[in-house]
Symmetry: D2
Subunit: 337 residues, 4 copies
């Protein structure tokens, strides 16, 4: 009854998922591993004491008879190929974001899965598994604050390396809001606009930072997302939903309230990896549970496509300050309703 998982890509996130499958989660084990660096795959097997084989390619992993389900944690440009191959093999596949590096790639996957008329793909949008976002969604769905009209968000990092470029504010940063807000509101985006405040002196000269992304949804809600990746003070994710009868906020991460040195103080996280760490466990357990039943749950390839299309529009809006760029999704297949 144990699910046999094959892992494609043993970089940081791949190894982290292998660790949690092996030591923390229930109902699965890693039986096959591959990496573009064959030595990395073998070292990973040794490090975690896996009873697994190191295979030469992702395709071999997918084809392997002792692999029931696939984890794609390789380089982004390879995702589409491995997800499509998993679909062809009829095996559940968990794919780290992005599902594909282009909207067309994501659409190819949606079409392949739609042809099967059976969900097999889960995309690695972990925020949907965060206890705080889940509690917030539960409050919204309860009707306590009425229909959502406005969402105010902030996505702040203490700093970013020099290689972080202006478009990465969308593709690597706001991409999380793009997914989680669709889910939170049960809605889709229809337009995007980008506003550039005065640039922080802590940002590298080539980077527009902070930025504000304005979104409009099909139901008419308005969203503002402040993206500020050199905010200095911490990794801070804010989300306030304004409804017709009240407001609800994403809870702050747990912190010990102190009184010291003439201050009431609570620590703010500085490392993004700690912020959603618990949600990775829940996310992957959800994959294991669904895959054990031969299917997939959670963020779908349709969600991956929606995120890709929306992100493309936001990047386009970055290039035309003040302009309102429409966001148009293809018709949603019944499989994803």
């Amino acid at each position: 009854m144990t699910l046999n998982i094959g892992v494609i890509g043993t970089g940081a996130i791949g190894r982290d998922h292998i660790r949690r499958i092996t030591n923390t989660l229930s109902g699965a084990r890693v039986t096959a591993v591959t990496d573009v660096q064959p030595k990395a795959a073998e070292e990973t097997i040794a490090t975690y004491g896996l009873d697994a084989r190191a295979l030469a390619t992702g395709q071999e992993v997918i084809a392997s008879r002792d692999v029931d389900a696939v984890l794609v944690t390789s380089w982004g440009p390879t995702h589409e190929e491995f997800v499509l191959a998993s679909l062809a093999a009829g095996k559940p596949v968990f794919c780290e974001k992005p599902l594909a590096t282009t909207a067309q790639g994501a659409l190819n996957i949606v079409k392949a899965e739609t042809a099967l008329n059976h969900r097999l793909v889960q995309v690695g949008f972990m925020r949907r598994y965060d206890a705080g976002y889940r509690a917030l969604k539960s409050v919204i769905d309860s009707g306590q604050i009425g229909a959502p009209l406005i969402v105010h968000c902030a996505h702040r990092n203490p700093d970013v390396p020099e290689r972080y470029t202006t478009d990465m504010a969308i593709n690597d940063t706001v991409i999380h809001e793009l997914d989680v807000l669709r889910w939170l509101l049960d809605d889709d985006y229809v337009s995007a606009q980008v506003v550039y405040p005065r640039r922080s002196r802590h940002a590298f000269a080539h980077l527009a930072d902070p930025q504000i992304v304005l979104l409009e949804t099909a139901k008419g809600a308005r969203i503002d997302v402040e993206v500020f990746v050199n905010c200095q003070y911490g990794y801070d994710i804010q989300c306030e939903v304004v409804g017709e009868a009240g407001t609800a906020r994403l809870p702050e991460p747990m912190a010990v309230p102190l009184r010291v040195g003439a201050q009431r103080v609570s620590a703010i996280l500085t490392d993004w990896k700690e912020r959603f760490i618990a949600s990775y466990d829940v996310e992957l357990q959800d994959f294991i549970d669904a895959a054990s039943e031969g299917t997939a749950a959670g963020p779908s390839s349709w969600d991956g496509l929606a995120a890709a299309v929306s992100a493309d529009a936001c990047v386009a809006a970055q290039g035309k300050p003040g302009a309102i760029v429409p966001i148009t999704l293809p018709e949603r297949p019944a499989l994803y309703v």
Copy 2:
């Protein structure tokens, strides 16, 4: 040494100012009163036991020898006339907002005061006297959060009567943010844009509610002001300033933290009159203190003009959803630097 004040207009706010001059503040007394309803002036004198005369017109009040300073709390369209007359008489004058009902009217006052080369006018923007805004400004000015880049604001009322129209969201509501944010940031606006979220079902059909006003400042800061006058849950003023090194928020009004009925609870005010009640005392004492020295402090006629010009642009932006409307002030006279 006691300042003799003449009051023009004994409506609710006029009587309220008379009460605080008489019972609460120090260094002034009301010696002359007028109202368009002569009986109202006499009743006010009786109610507060004033040793004052009821005069027939505002002009008589201004001209009266036992009036050292003037309080203009009459109907908005009369403000310009009475402020100009006070300037002509060389008497300090406190004018409730608006300073004038048009930008041109405010400009007339600025010019008259500039010709005197001496400040005599204080405009009734009381938020600058609120302890919370003052503490926030003190934090910003201390440099703790670095240069301000973004300001997120919300101005929420539980509900409004049917006569409240869409443009009043600017002229009666956002007008307070327009003044206080200029002061908070020591900056001016250069453009405005208005965004319309889905209308709340609690708003009358003729009213666009909520609205979001986006402002850009001369220094490049970006401001978003959510105006939501049918938010149902309370009168709630939010202001978060995002600086290069940190953020600072307007403190919440004092409330007793309770634990009852499975909830941690703190009351939110529902009546706007209570929110800034203490600031009216500080504001008017500031007027008394400066007027006793023959001058004026606090929000100037230039600030009144800047608010009027900015509000006009916002109303123009309301009419062109998505458009970015420039805000242009005349050159600032040295008197107001």
Copy 3:
């Protein structure tokens, strides 16, 4: 109609009250001043530009025909004499705490005032005028949390000078809780116990710090007051009332919430003088208003006596760790019911 006030004692607190009568409050002026240092009285008149006479003694001030009401802000051991003299003269008198340095002295005053069958004395327990305590009392009186069963308090100072002795933790520090909690609960104390935690290494060797004072009330409520006068981090007053149906806390003083340096931060006051500064204004205005009517309001001489008797019991309990010391008040005269 202006109340003429004579001030006995122009030390720090005397001058502070003179300043607020002159510049801030309404309806009174200082007409006579005395101090054991005649020069100090004259300097005070000059500093505040008073239209007042410097008199040789407190008795002269009380007897003066241009003095309607008396402020006793002299050295503690002189309070009883001046309050009794004011009563004999039939003049309202505000006496800074302590009302007398012994319970017997306070009882003498209670008897003299009871003989007049008319309240003339207000004792300077300013916490009853603090907006936070008033809001807390209002919540308790509303019945929202049910009958009070337990009160948890903390009274923390950052540090104290070497001359601060163990009994001063009662007579100078807990004395404020002893008064304000009687008022808050509308109750009296029946016993006291003192517990000594491990001594802080920041306390001088002669001082037991922190201490915990346990009180029982006539209605059966139990109170614990942590007194910690070398807590290092700030001046912090805490009060949590546990009722049959919920709890209510004293609100924190206003502070700007910041996010800086990996912390959510709000400042804590370090100077006790700032904590209740606004309440001194309300307190003295209350005295002026009542004295203008020929009487006194607020904390009475009975409250001063109750505080003195309770403090004596607490000091006795300090000397017998673990022992429960009864607190017995004389019968309450009808004047104070």
Copy 4:
């Protein structure tokens, strides 16, 4: 490499542990089950789809060759026998609290384990595994607030059934504080006193509620624990540690901050089972990990003994209001240092 666990007792908590071993935790499976109601054991096997045998007695479970480690979740009076038998069999054993129903029983276990000179017993004090308490301990151990001098605690339940008796406030309720505070402070208790506030009208007539338990530690810290099991408003666990340089509090459980109906609101839990639900997972995983290495971690049988001895003293103190009852532990064996 999977740990085979035998479970003695399939009541609510036994089944809950079986569920988490089977569906949530990593590295173990349930292979044998027993209950005083044989049918209950069989039903449990069916419910969770276990590949396990239903055995007739706890002794059979302990003796079974396919049982590597034992879970004792049976009726309290049987705990001592099964833990001793597990020790005799040399098998790691997790025992729900109480370790034994008497201090002598706990001492028997300590002696048996000490004779083995090897830890095999973990007691089910789950609060040590709560993320909030762990964060609080981490702050204390960091030295940020200096040496702990005072701890203020509250343990509040909304209500209790009629069978809940006054001594259960110690043995079922305060028992959790008795364990977790020893661990938090790395200290032992030397005395206890109980104070009875006015009884809540919501308590059954036979029950003293609330109560306050005062503890003194070997290092001189003073602890007050308010126990209030009919507080009506929720299940609320408070803990504030006052150190020489600052204070630290147990974080509140996560809750969505709402603004609705003129209130800022966050939900308080009402069901104690939800409060520490996540800590049960961590606790049992810790047992599995240590048992897989042939030993035990976490709360030891010495901790179980210390809790029993301390609880006995508290119950004695309940019978002598105002008296200070000494708490004396035997000498601590080296195994537990």
